[in-house]
Symmetry: C2
């Protein structure tokens, strides 16, 4: 009776593998399906090992959430590119409503985590951070775009616009990621860009470039 072979891995690698396995489990089986055993199997590892890298399962899940949110917002922000505020905002929007930001897997994971926010203070805090950061980014870009276009607006008005824009992007992201409607026949990018331009009081034709 021989034990199964294994080899040592650097701490960072193992942690990443475990987090990736956790996110995969959640995406496919839901939070309830992300058991210690399931995660360990997917990571090609034994359940007991998890405890060496994460104090307990709660920590593992929290770490997975931070990684997920961080990667998701990074992917969205990568769409900004370099250029005018206008092109940055347009790029952010484009990225937000297309893959890999907008897809079923991301939605599943996001929803699973959101469901815990109300009953888990640790999750609530981790969530608040990521959310706030994204909305601040939108608020800044929206303000700059309006300034570029010569649209005058008070800080209060800009803030209101940001709230609306953020809500719109969130909603579109959910709708598209859910994939219920036949979005293949609808140009969601165009719809998103035009809507944002309209809300900012900018000519849609000028906004998208």
């Amino acid at each position: 009776m021989t034990r199964r072979a294994f080899h040592h891995e650097p701490e960072a690698v193992r942690q990443n593998d475990l987090i990736a396995a956790t996110l995969d489990s959640i995406a496919e089986l839901g939070l309830a399906g992300a058991t210690v055993r399931e995660v360990a199997n997917r990571a090609g590892v034994t359940p007991g090992l998890i405890r060496r890298y994460f104090d307990n399962k709660e920590r593992l899940v929290a770490a997975a959430y931070r990684t997920f949110i961080s990667d998701l917002t990074a992917a969205a922000e990568a769409g900004c590119g370099e250029g005018s505020a206008n092109s940055k905002l347009a790029g952010l929007i484009r990225a937000s409503v297309t893959a890999p930001v907008a897809d079923g897997r991301a939605l599943s994971i996001w929803a699973a985590f959101i469901g815990t926010v109300n009953s888990d203070p640790v999750m609530a805090e981790a969530h608040r951070e990521g959310y706030q950061a994204f909305r601040d980014l939108i608020e800044r870009l929206a303000g700059e775009v309006m300034a570029e276009r010569g649209v005058t607006a008070s800080q209060q008005e800009i803030r209101s616009k940001a709230i609306v824009l953020n809500a719109l992007l969130d909603g579109l992201w959910i709708e598209i990621s859910m994939g219920g409607d036949d979005f293949s026949r609808v140009d969601v990018v165009r719809i998103a860009l035009d809507s944002v331009a309209t809300l900012l009081g900018i000519d849609p034709a000028e906004f998208r470039e």
Copy 2:
């Protein structure tokens, strides 16, 4: 050793109680906290009784979801009232961004269920129904409002508007229900109404009445 007293209840009452207890459990403790024993306790009943009214826990949860979504959309639609399409749409929006439709409890429950949609076909179907119905309502109202205002738009354009409006309402509902931002100093109803009017190409001052 005497058993605890109890009394018979009509089937509908017991089912309602069990569903209400399930939703309460989910709202406070998350889906994982909604165990058979927890639900039974809240309903003032013994765990075994659940099986008399629902074949298994999965059925109970699914029934709770349908009740929840049904009640939520009914509360939103109640805001429509009777009158012009304009006032109906405005009423729907007003109701969607204020309590009891928009509040933390509803968001918690919604999120918990959404998290299961991807891994549970039964939940996916139950969800699709409720979602589709709401978007059809918005599409109809939006079309009527534009017709009232003399704004000409193709069916395709109306459909696009409905997608955007639905996304905006969803996003605002989430933001407000999450309660992260200091919405006490922001008139969310006004923001929502003005945004929708702008997106439909209608004068905001005329839209809100």
